[in-house]
Symmetry: C2
Subunit: 319 residues, 2 copies
């Protein structure tokens, strides 16, 4: 018991005793066993997190913020990626819950029925992010992807663009991408404009290369297009690069909009008009929420609805 207390810096162990314990541990090569501690105390200090892909700077920012916020309090992230597939997500959630995390943060608001049931029954805080679900499972830190793109379309129309295309994924796995496309279509129709210039760039996540290829097809098939909105800054940069290869001036001959405010959009020439979804803030606020619930803050009984307001950033790729 004294060793146990010494390791968790319990104030009832004298300084000398604790130092002696820690010194002896170092000599013996003893390493504290969290597995046993977790079993007995029923506290794992794990927070499970699922993201669609590791190779995405937006989600990486969210996870980084979560990690920074939670590690300060001794919580460790148990990370899994779903590859943009809700069935893979279901399997992953089942695996993660077996580790008895104390909270779970998922990306997106669309899940299989069984995943929803697993999450509801888990008895831990569930936080859905990067989305604004109709029927949240618990807490939400997110925004409407459709609404964000609608605002960009509105801006483009106000700026005088009429023949606007959308470059996105060619299947419905990326639910945030689907929402963004739906927002594009709804906004175009609201303006009485043709919403049929939809270019399928490949399976999500859409890469720079796929964005470039999609731009090539768009220029071949609908050369009178005046502007294109892309599902993320990555294909938007690819589209820009294709314009450069074809000596098409951006924004004079073609305006381009992206999504996500990736670093590349701020640095490239011309810089990219985009939408900042505040990826880091999403993670930071999710971490704060988890810690508040853990501390039993009085007003956290009701599920939180933390809304992020994505910001339209106007840069050189549009006028």
């Amino acid at each position: 018991m004294t060793v146990s207390r010494a390791f968790k810096r319990d104030s009832s162990v004298s300084r000398e005793t604790r130092d002696a314990v820690l010194r002896a541990s170092e000599d013996l090569g003893y390493v504290f066993d969290s597995t046993a501690a977790s079993l007995r105390s029923q506290r794992t200090d794990f927070v499970a997190v699922t993201i669609p892909s590791l190779n995405n700077a937006n989600f990486a920012d969210t996870v980084r913020a979560l990690s920074e916020g939670l590690s300060a309090r001794g919580l460790q992230i148990l990370l899994g990626y779903t590859n943009y597939d809700i069935h893979e997500e279901e399997r992953l959630i089942e695996q993660l819950l077996r580790r008895r995390p104390e909270a779970i943060v998922v990306t997106g608001g669309k899940h299989t029925d069984r995943a929803r049931q697993l999450l509801r029954n888990a008895g831990i805080p569930v936080i859905e992010t990067w989305d604004w679900p109709d029927e949240p499972l618990g807490h939400v830190v997110g925004f409407s992807n459709a609404q964000s793109v609608r605002e960009m379309v509105d801006h483009f129309v106000t700026a005088g663009y009429r023949r606007i295309a959308f470059i996105g994924g060619d299947d419905d796995r990326d639910t945030r991408g689907v929402e963004r496309r739906a927002g594009f279509i709804a906004a175009m129709k609201a303006h009485g404009l043709d919403a049929s210039r939809l270019i399928a760039a490949g399976a999500p996540p859409i890469s720079m290369r796929e964005g470039a290829d999609a731009m090539g097809r768009l220029l071949d098939s609908a050369p009178d297009t005046e502007a294109v909105i892309c599902v993320s800054d990555l294909p938007a940069f690819g589209a820009l690069s294709e314009c450069q290869r074809r000596s098409i001036r951006v924004p004079d001959q073609m305006a381009i909009g992206g999504f996500g405010d990736y670093e590349i959009g701020a640095v490239c020439v011309p810089s990219l008009t985009t939408i900042n979804a505040f990826a880091y803030d999403i993670g930071r606020k999710a971490a704060e929420l988890i810690l508040a619930i853990r501390d039993g803050k009085p007003n956290v009984d009701a599920p939180a609805r933390i809304v992020i307001h994505p910001e339209l950033i106007l840069r050189q790729s549009s006028r």
Copy 2:
């Protein structure tokens, strides 16, 4: 016991019994407790992985390959990031080892003395990656960063460039970056060339923006520079963008080389000469090694020395 066997698909449980158990579990909302299983069986099915940063496509590729290779065998990754700091790495390794991972994969070959001791005493396979340490702790899947950059310098010199600069970090935290700079200096000196055009771009990881700023300072202070080699493709792209802003033609007036073969280098205009370090292969081979050791393959008693051969990729940013 029957429930326990049913959950691990033990053949000695009849089909009907197993199905009944699984159905009842679903009805009751039972979720298997891996913590208890781990404690009793002394097998956690965890593999610990440390990387400098989550927001880096190269390391993300390595982790993705690890994850894909290991999850097929039921192993879960316990990921931590060191923020390019070996003291942070020491703290992280200590935390991770408490979870009793069955192997640990670390990025880099430089660690604090205490971290080295912790890793040696852990009694699990240790794999150092992305480096070629003088005194490996165990297994290695990596390459010499210095040698890779030397080859790029050799190529640039053969192509006729003489006044060559290097853009890298301004402290020694990123040990791979330090190695790359050392390789640059050694190669320049070997050719009898001036190796003093070293631009400090900021604290690692060096961003696109920092690369652009560094290029600006280089052009201001040493406008006769003919070529620049960057510690990664990210600052290399930033440097390219700065040249574009100043209407400096690449590669005619300035050649640029990067490192890491990030997607941007293949897509941007002009495309970037770079070095492919085969990030995905590093993770894949580390995963294969872990599985081979786990299966007790006969010839895995000696520490593995798996060498990756980075490849120089010549593109439009150099001639």
